[in-house]
Amino acid sequence: MTTNSLTTSQGAGRAGDKVFSGATLAAGCLILLVLFGVALFLVIQAIPALVAPPADIQGGHGFFAYIGPIVVGTLIAAVIALVIATPVAIGVALFISHYAPRKLASGLGYVVDLLAAIPSVVYGAWGAAFLAPQISPAYNWLASTMGWLPIFQGPASATGKTILTASIVLSVMVLPIITSLSREIFLQTPKLHEEAALALGATRWEMIKMAVLPFGRPGIVSAVMLGLGRALGETMAVALVLSSGVLTASLIQSGNQTIAAEIALNFPEASGLKVSTLIAAGLVLFVITLGVNMIARWIITRHKEFSGAN
């Protein structure tokens, strides 16, 4: 009764403040530690593969001869996926932001987000069981009419399980990412610019060309880069769809492999040096996607500074 309740509660409160702010700080630092740990443990576990005699690595010519073709395969698959997905994604984003009726726009945005909600293994199953058989006649046609191009060199795969099919599935998976980011950017276009263009007699497409696209260009570039990051690291679509093999130029024959699929297919049964080799492959993938994502984030931050958006 005689103790001063103000001072005692203050004492307890001060301790609580310290504990709480300490806990939040610790959580923040933990995240930095985890990211650091990702890099550190991957390096530690990968070292045996990097220093092992070349003959012991799968293929017998050392780690870099092993990883080289699958890095190229990864890049091929991701780039084709982006070439397919980017125009469609920008079109969908423009449709939702500038063409669809206002009342429908948010509902349509949700429909596109549903594409992102479907688990990747389901896409893989769909690509292998539905898309590949459906698309293989088209590959036969490509091989017979455009077979003189190295990328369409026949004979086309009879099952349709090729790098092109895998890229198409990948493009479906990166589409919602590029769409939702570009949509956000398009919606931020200054209304006055759009209205000024329309008032000068521009058609809707001219308005988009003059006001929306120049404003959104850095945003589109970074959205595409983030999509690239996703396409590079996507595993299941490739592991289930592609019947893998050595690096080949033809997109419609079975062959080629990506890093993520190589790890997923081999890691469960791997042991010893093979584990290290696959972890080193994962490290390579990590470095590539890290670079791509950092460039994308850098473009976004730079854009934020001079556009006045946000």
Binding site: G13, R14, G16, D17, F20, T24, A26, A27, G28, C29, L30, I31, L32, V34, L35, V38, F41, L42, I44, Q45, A89, I90, G91, L94, F95, Y99, L114, P119, S120, V121, V122, G124, A125, W126, A128, A129, T203, R204, W205, E206, I208, L226, G229, G233, M236, A239, L240, A260, I263, A264, V275, I279, G282, L285, F286, T289, L290, V292, M294, A296
Partner: protein, 369 residues
Amino acid sequence: MTVTAPVARKRSALTKGQLPAFAPYVVLAVALVLGAAILALIGFNAFGWGLVSAILFTIGLVGWSAAVEGGRKSSDKLATCLIVGSFLVALLPLISVIWAVLVNGIPGIISPGFLTTSMNGVTGALDNKSVDEGTKVLGGIYHALLGTVQITLLATVISVPVGLLTAIYLVEYGNDRALARAITFFVDVMTGIPSIVAGLFAAAFFFAVVGPGTKTGAVAAVALSVLMIPVVVRSSEEMLKIVPNELREAAYALGVRKWRTILKVVIPTAISGIASGVTLAIARVIGETAPILVTAGFATTINNNVFGGWMASLPTFIYTQILNPTSPSNPDPSSQRAWGAALVLIILVMILNLGARLIARIFAPKAGR
């Protein structure tokens, strides 16, 4: 003296040189008929009909517009056709995937015992027998469902405190310090970590700490946490940022300590957004396959211990049933089980997505008077 010619024009000068309002419908009807005719020659199918008609419609409308209205209007029409077309193209895979999962998954899911039995004791011989003699397909996803729930739950238990506390640090204590900016940047970077690399990290970490070849549900949960934490941080941060500063200042003015303010005022105000963000994060990781594949292995039996032994999960169940059917000579029963599991997984993800919206609505703070 000027002679006024009799005015016989029906349309005013303002609307001259425009397509009539019914033009798109006429072109559409013509395109559909022509498309059907062309497809009838080379063999009819619905997809080809839609594609050919869309191309004919675009050519027809743009060509007519170019003849009547000139280049600017016709390129506007072309752009409109392409943009609407790209949206329709984006809908195709969505409809196709959902259709494929429903058609192939329903026979699997209605086979008795699918949700309540595991794959324990289901062998290739049993699958061959079910194909040859037409008996029902045995085996189910109970063990995988259980594994998914346990792994996801543990991942949530790890990620939510870490993610939420980090978000609180960034919003309430960070003050744009170098550390806060570094955390924001690296959280963004973490969002882009490929899921299989997260799995490899957890595997490499436990291989180094516990021993080579350690594969349990807990390792998978750590891998999923690496993917989940950045999502939780981002969404909670956004929600904490929109809590009005007046509320914090009112609490400080009453002499309330900062941590009590955060716990009793800021978080309750933002709880609806935080909860829905967490639900969306769960929906994101529940379908992840690659990290579980490299960290928890596969199991065909029920495993109730997250910390010991290989564990099945729905995504890896789908993956292994497709890639390594139980009976290599008769993959149909395995693919039926895989599609059934895919349907269950999609239903789970959709429930979580809808749940996030419901939570946001139910826990939303009461609007002002």
